[in-house]
C-alpha cells in the first residue's frame, strides 16, 4: 500500500488542542493574527499521506510570522524529508488556501525551513515566483492535487 511513496513512514503527531476565539474579541477584525492564519492552513492535507500538515509537523504555530507595519507575512514549512518532491505542491496549497485571507496589500512569502530541504534555494525561488505559481495552479493535474489537499478535511 505504501509502494512508491517518497516518505513511506512519516512521523505523525497528535493534533494540538484548538483555542476557541471569544465571540466578543475586540480585535477580531483589525489585525492579521498569525494564529488565525495558522487555523486556515493547519488542516491542509499532505499530498502523500492521509494526515494534516500539522499532524506531520510540516506546519506549527511558529510557522507563521506577520509584520503588520510592513504588511508582510512569512510562512515557513518543514517538509517531512530532505528530498521531498512534494515541497512545491505544499507551497502551492498554502498559497491557494491563503489567497483571499487578508487585506490585499499584504505580501506573502513562503519558504521551507532553513536546512530542511536539499534544494532549499530552488524550491523557495519557485514558490515565490508569482508567474510560476499562477501557471502551476492552471495545470489541471496540479490543480486537482491541490484541491484534494485543501478540501479533504474529514480529519
Amino acid at each position: 500500500m505504501t509502494l512508491g511513496l517518497i516518505n513511506a513512514n512519516p512521523v505523525v503527531h497528535a493534533k494540538k488542542k484548538r483555542v476557541a476565539r471569544p465571540l466578543d474579541d475586540p480585535h477580531a477584525d483589525d489585525a492579521v493574527d498569525p494564529l488565525e492564519i495558522y487555523d486556515y492552513v493547519r488542516d491542509i492535507r499532505d499530498p502523500e499521506h492521509p494526515y494534516s500538515l500539522e499532524q506531520l509537523s510540516v506546519l506549527s504555530e511558529e510557522s507563521i510570522t506577520v509584520d503588520e507595519k510592513l504588511g508582510r507575512i512569512l510562512i515557513t514549512f518543514t517538509p517531512t524529508i530532505q528530498h521531498c518532491s512534494m515541497a512545491t505542491v505544499i507551497g502551492l496549497c498554502l498559497r491557494e488556501k491563503l489567497k483571499d485571507c487578508f487585506p490585499a496589500h499584504f505580501k506573502v512569502d513562503i519558504k521551507v525551513a532553513p536546512g530542511s530541504h536539499a534544494d532549499e534555494e530552488a524550491v523557495n525561488k519557485q514558490l515565490n515566483d508569482k508567474e510560476r505559481v499562477a501557471a502551476a495552479l492552471e495545470n489541471p493535474n496540479l490543480r486537482q492535487l491541490v484541491t484534494e489537499c485543501l478540501y479533504s478535511s474529514e480529519l
Partner: protein, 297 residues
C-alpha cells in the same frame, strides 16, 4: 542617476474595469494617441481574454472596444502590437501565440503559432515587423518570420538559457534580439547570415549582472543603452557603442554602467525607458518609480 521627484507627477486618469482576473500586461498601439488619432490600448488577462480599449476624443475616457476571447485556453500573459499596428500578437500559458487582425469592428485570430512545450511568456516584433520572437518556460526563444498572407514560419529555436525565459525584446533599430531569464542572465542573439542565429553575449552575475530572475528589459530611444530589472531588487543600466551596433559588424559588447538599488524592496517586475529618457519601474512593493538621468550623467 538620481530620482527627480519634483518635476514628475503621476496622476491616475481612469480605472478600466472589465477583466475577470489579474491583468498581466498592457500595450499601447503604435501611431495612436496623438495628431487626432485616439489612443488605443490592449490588455491581457488571467481570464484568458484580451481587451482593446480606445480613448474617446470627446470625453477623454477609455472604453472597451473589443474582447478577444474563445481562442486562448489559459492565461494570456502578454501582448504586443506589430510596428504598423495592423496585427496584435498574444502569448499564452496554453503554449500558443495568437496573432490577431483588426477586421471591421472586431479582431480576428488570423494565425496561431505552436511549438513551445509549455507557457509562452513574451513576444516581441522587430522594428520592421518582419520578425516575431517568443519565449517561455521551456527555456527556449523562437524566432518567426512574417510572411505574406499572415503566415508565420519558424526560422530558429534558440537554446541557451538554463531556465524559464521571462521576456524577449528586439533592439529598437537592429535585428538583434535580447532575452532575460529565471536563470538570472540576459542573452544577446544575433544572426550570422542565413537564418543562423546564436548567442553572442551573456550578461551574468560575473559581468556585474543580476543575482536573481531578470524580469524585463527596455532600450532607450537611441538603442545604445538598456535597462533591466530583477527579483534581486535592483535595476541595472547597460550600454554599448552605438556606431559598432549600427555597423552590424560582429558583436558590440554590452557593459554594465550602473546599478540602481534601494528603490524597491520587493521583486521589480517591469521596466520601461520612455522616448524622452525617463525610466519607469514597477514592483511587487506596489510602487511605480520614475528615474531620470541627472546633469552629470
Amino acid at each position: 542617476m538620481s530620482l527627480v521627484d519634483e518635476s514628475f507627477e503621476l496622476k491616475e486618469l481612469q480605472v478600466l474595469e472589465g477583466h475577470a482576473d489579474r491583468v498581466w500586461s498592457v500595450a499601447w498601439k503604435p501611431a495612436t494617441g496623438f495628431d487626432g488619432v485616439p489612443a488605443v490600448l490592449a490588455s491581457c488577462s488571467g481570464d484568458k481574454t484580451v481587451r482593446v480599449w480606445e480613448q474617446s476624443p470627446s470625453s477623454g475616457s477609455f472604453q472597451c472596444k473589443a474582447v478577444l476571447e474563445e481562442t486562448h485556453t489559459r492565461t494570456v500573459r502578454s501582448c504586443a502590437w506589430s510596428p504598423s499596428g495592423k496585427l496584435l500578437a498574444t502569448a499564452s500559458f496554453d503554449a500558443t501565440t495568437a496573432v490577431w487582425e483588426h477586421v471591421g469592428d472586431d479582431y480576428e485570430c488570423v494565425s496561431t503559432l505552436e511549438g513551445h512545450e509549455n507557457e509562452v511568456k513574451s513576444i516581441s516584433w522587430n522594428a520592421s515587423g518582419s520578425l516575431l520572437a517568443t519565449c517561455g518556460r521551456d527555456k527556449s526563444v523562437w524566432i518567426w518570420e512574417v510572411l505574406p498572407g499572415n503566415e508565420f514560419e519558424c526560422v530558429s529555436v534558440l537554446q541557451g538559457h538554463t531556465q524559464d525565459v521571462k521576456m524577449v525584446q528586439w533592439h529598437p533599430n537592429m535585428d538583434i534580439l535580447f532575452s532575460c531569464s529565471y536563470d538570472n542572465t540576459i542573452k544577446v542573439w544575433a544572426e550570422d547570415g542565413d537564418d543562423d542565429w546564436h548567442c553572442v553575449q551573456t550578461l551574468a552575475e560575473a559581468n556585474n549582472g543580476h543575482t536573481s530572475t531578470v524580469w524585463a528589459l527596455s532600450f532607450n530611444a537611441t538603442g545604445d543603452k538598456m535597462a533591466t530589472c530583477s527579483d534581486d531588487l535592483t535595476l541595472k543600466i547597460w550600454g554599448s557603442d552605438l556606431l559598432t551596433i549600427q555597423s552590424g559588424n560582429g558583436s558590440a559588447p554590452w557593459k554594465h554602467i550602473c546599478t540602481l538599488s534601494g528603490y524597491h524592496d520587493r521583486t521589480i517586475f517591469s521596466v520601461h525607458w520612455s522616448r524622452e529618457g525617463i525610466i519607469a519601474s514597477g514592483a511587487a512593493d506596489d510602487a511605480i518609480r520614475l528615474f531620470a538621468e541627472d546633469g552629470d550623467g
